[in-house]
């Protein structure tokens, strides 16, 4: 009988005679591989997913004029669009204006970019029924045709300001600065939970014209995606590009983000290590049990003249082939679990990673190898006569 045929027969018989045993080993290996795969896949992608959560905070990098200047040229903003097209950006110009004889902050900005930096802002617009608010992105998309018809003239009132003046969306509001007055249609009342609640937001060009500061900005807010290091890289690029502008990272945002990511990473690492450790132990005990229980088989093989090498090889090959199937199956199930979790928690897909597959398969095979090789090594040193006589 050729070694290959012998091998197939031994494995086949093992399954036929003791299906429970083999199934238990297979299940232990597969469960181990599933856990390893789910944890590893999540571990590698979690920091990126968590970073995205911090984008609800808004900007993490501010461009402001240097020194005692109050504004800087808009030029920088236009160049920014070319040099960092992927970074959400928002220009601001502030002025203390008046409406109905009272002082109020006028904030000039770009309506269509607000949503990218402030996804959490809620707007109550004219067409909407009472007490229903929508996110700013939805409003802009809905209002776009009307806005372009009106020559892009709009006004958003912060909810404190709207309550103070008793305004409702749809009215026309007169705002003044110096001697200039502008009548703007009130598009909606915006609720932000920040300073903007007491401001009036209006188109940047309108405010620039009113305040005779054409082509000037007070600040640019940037939401640089990625980690603190990436923000620092962008900051250095910007600082080198425009010496007259100061680029300031918002420390509370960046530092909290970095802290939480670090902790999440540490926690996941610790948990993955614990789970892997215990999975290894339990797989080892199950698989070693399988070998130890077949001491008699080993005894018979030895007494029939099987060499130590051939016997070890037979058993190791048997568990390794079992482990290979279990690892592939487990990796698939584990990836599915991780994918489900990512969809459920972060509502975004987990990319398929090729680098975790060899890790999972490698660990499973190594564990299976150790779990078989050690007991086989121990058993084959025994005298077959002792083993076969029974215990």
């Amino acid at each position: 009988m050729s070694p290959a045929r012998l091998f197939v027969r031994v494995v086949y018989k093992a399954f036929r005679v003791e299906p429970g045993r083999m199934a238990a080993s297979f299940a232990a290996l597969a469960v181990g591989a599933t856990l390893a795969s789910a944890f590893l896949n999540l571990y590698f992608d979690l920091p990126r997913k968590m970073t995205a959560e911090f984008r609800t905070l808004g900007a993490n990098l501010i461009l402001a004029p240097k020194g005692t200047n109050e504004t800087f040229p808009e030029e920088a903003y236009r160049q920014l669009a070319d040099s960092q097209p992927a970074v959400p950006r928002l220009p601001w110009l502030y002025a203390v204006g008046k409406t109905q004889g009272k002082e109020v902050i006028l904030a000039g900005t770009e309506l269509e970019r607000l949503a990218a930096l402030h996804p959490g802002w809620r707007v109550t617009a004219d067409a909407a029924p009472k007490d229903s608010s929508e996110s700013i992105g939805v409003l802009v998309a809905r209002m776009q045709p009307r806005l372009s018809g009106q020559g892009n003239r709009w006004l958003l009132a912060g909810e404190k300001a709207a309550a103070h003046f008793g305004w409702k969306a749809g009215e026309t509001v007169a705002v003044e600065y110096g001697g200039a007055t502008q009548d703007l249609p009130l598009l909606g009342v915006v609720s932000t939970g920040e300073s903007e609640d007491s401001q009036l937001l209006l188109p940047l060009p309108v405010l620039q014209e009113m305040t005779h500061r054409a082509g000037q900005l007070s600040l640019i807010a940037l939401a640089v995606p990625g980690s603190a290091e990436q923000v620092e890289t962008v900051r250095q690029q910007l600082a080198a590009q425009w010496p007259q502008v100061e680029a300031r990272p918002l420390r509370p945002v960046l530092e909290s983000e970095a802290r939480v990511i670090l902790k999440v990473r540490g926690l996941m690492f610790g948990l993955t290590a614990i789970v892997l450790g215990i999975v290894v132990l339990s797989v080892m005990t199950t698989v070693s049990g399988l070998v130890l229980d077949r001491r008699r088989d080993i005894g018979v093989m030895k007494s029939l003249g099987g060499s130590d090498r051939a016997i070890s090889l037979l058993f190791v090959a048997e568990t390794l082939s079992l482990a290979a199937f279990a690892a592939l199956l487990g990796y698939g199930i584990g990836f599915g679990l991780a994918q489900w979790a990512a969809q459920r928690i972060f509502a975004s897909a987990l990319p398929w990673r090729w680098d975790t597959l060899p890790a999972v398969v490698g660990v499973t095979l190594a564990v299976a190898f150790l779990a078989t090789a050690l007991p086989v090594y121990r058993v084959r040193r025994l005298d077959p006569a002792v083993v076969l006589r029974g215990n």
């Binding site: 902050i105 300073s195 999440v264 614990i274």
Partner: protein
């Protein structure tokens, strides 16, 4: 007879090892499940404390106020305009139901000032309009019950970077005559730590007010509007503005529970039982409600971007950890019960022998289940202890603080360990009861 059999199968040298292995398997599974559950129960609190570094998530302003003239959280109104909150009443923040969740708070008084540097003879005097922010740095608040709490902008904003030293405002003497300067302002004025500046109230109608000399103790970097401001103790700002005991706003940092369907409901529509549940959960809405109740005349609002991010991150972390714990629990259960059923299958001959000499099925089952119970309890208890140790280790390494021991988990883990061992033993026993003793004993 029954107990002797049980004892022997657990304790006779021949069997001891097998029983110990089985208990160890249960212990390993329980340990990982207990560690995961423990961490997942505590992760909300731990991550909540980390997220504190985002700064305040609640702001209090006077309820009947004129419209704030505000950019980036800084109020530019002259001191004569608008309403104020009384500084003396702020201790009440530490008397609400969720007082322990109020981690830090600080009052703010914004005074428009003209600041001049140039106390050094020979250097040209430079002047700049700015806002002097009066606040607590590390102030001791005494509640009406006599409890003392340290609070102020230092605990409120742990991410602020300071060059120099913080102002000690525990007593009026150490705090007067000192200030902190924002980075951008310091650069514009060419100021360094240790320099002196003179600040004068800047208000319409006030021509020439007497200045206050302050020494720059530190330079603050935050990246926000604070970089353009200067900070002094609240007493300094109040005497400069002439508004004793008054503050413009209060920022509060509170540990919150993520929002869910329940918390978004209007408390007015809740039944009394639901209202109690809402009131006794640290949702941001119930904390806001409780603050307004103890400080009438103030409006408490959530700083939404901060509160929302905290809620999001917390909710996601808790769900993730919970899911991983359930996963680990399921895997542990599977491996324990497969080991237990192996142990039964291995002892088919024993079962057959017992049946052959007249044992009833229930007696055989009882014997094995009693063994499984012993292994489940011993393994479960060991696993619980090991799980706690693992969770503590993890808590200390990752968060630098211990994970709280949750004794509620002990009975749960024991029950789970027992149930899993029983389930693993029960199925093969059912099969074993159909064995024909003769066939089993003859074969091998």
């Amino acid at each position: 007879m029954f107990w002797r059999l049980v004892r022997e199968s657990l304790w006779r040298p021949r069997n001891r090892r097998r029983a110990a292995w089985a208990a160890l398997a249960v212990a390993l599974g329980t340990a990982v499940a207990a560690a995961m559950l423990n961490v997942s129960l505590d992760v909300g609190d731990k991550v909540g404390r980390e997220l504190r570094s985002l700064g305040a998530n609640i702001v209090l302003t006077p309820a009947a106020d004129s419209l704030p003239v505000e950019i980036g959280g800084i109020d530019y109104r002259p001191v004569s305009e608008g309403a104020y909150i009384s500084e003396a009443s702020l201790g009440k923040l530490k008397e609400i139901y969720w007082r322990n969740n109020i981690i830090a708070f600080a009052p703010f008084l914004y005074v428009p000032v003209r600041m001049a540097s140039g106390l050094i003879p020979g250097l040209p005097e430079r002047e700049q309009k700015t806002t002097l922010v009066g606040t607590w740095f590390n102030h001791t608040v005494v509640t009406s019950t006599g409890d003392r709490h340290q609070t102020g902008i230092r605990p409120l904003n742990p991410t602020w970077k300071l060059e120099g030293e913080w102002i000690d405002d525990s007593s009026a003497e150490t705090a007067s005559g000192s200030c902190l300067i924002g980075r951008a302002l310091a650069e514009a004025m060419g100021l360094r730590v240790g320099d002196f500046v003179v600040v004068m109230l800047h208000a319409e109608g006030v021509e020439e007010s007497s200045g206050v000399a302050l020494q720059v103790r530190g330079i603050v970097t935050t990246g926000g509007a604070e970089d353009q401001q200067m900070f002094a103790s609240l007493a300094v700002a109040q005497s400069l503005a002439g508004v004793a005991d008054q503050v413009r706003r209060v920022q509060v940092s509170a540990l919150i529970k993520p929002e869910d369907e329940f918390s978004r409901r209007d408390p007015k529509t809740m039944t009394p039982a639901e209202y109690d549940r809402w009131y006794c959960s640290p949702y941001i809405s119930s904390i806001l409600h409780q603050i307004t109740a103890v400080l009438p005349g103030t409006a408490a609002r959530a700083i939404r971007p901060v509160a929302e991010t905290q809620g999001n991150v917390l909710g996601k972390m808790t769900f993730l950890m919970g899911m991983l714990a359930v996963l680990a629990l399921a895997a542990a259960a599977l491996s324990i019960s497969s080991l237990a059923s192996l142990a039964v299958a291995e002892r088919r001959q024993e079962i057959a022998l017992m049946k052959a000499i007249g044992a009833q099925d229930w007696l055989v089952s009882g014997l094995f289940l009693a063994e499984a119970a012993a292994q489940g309890v011993v393994g479960g208890a060991l696993g619980f202890a090991a799980g706690q140790a693992l969770a503590r280790l993890l808590g200390r390494v990752v968060f630098g603080s211990d994970v709280a021991v949750n004794w509620m988990l002990l009975p749960i883990m024991l029950l789970v360990a027992l149930a899993v061992s029983f389930a693993g033993t029960w199925l093969p026993l059912r099969r074993a009861s159909h064995y024909e003793p003769a066939a089993v004993l003859r074969g091998e």
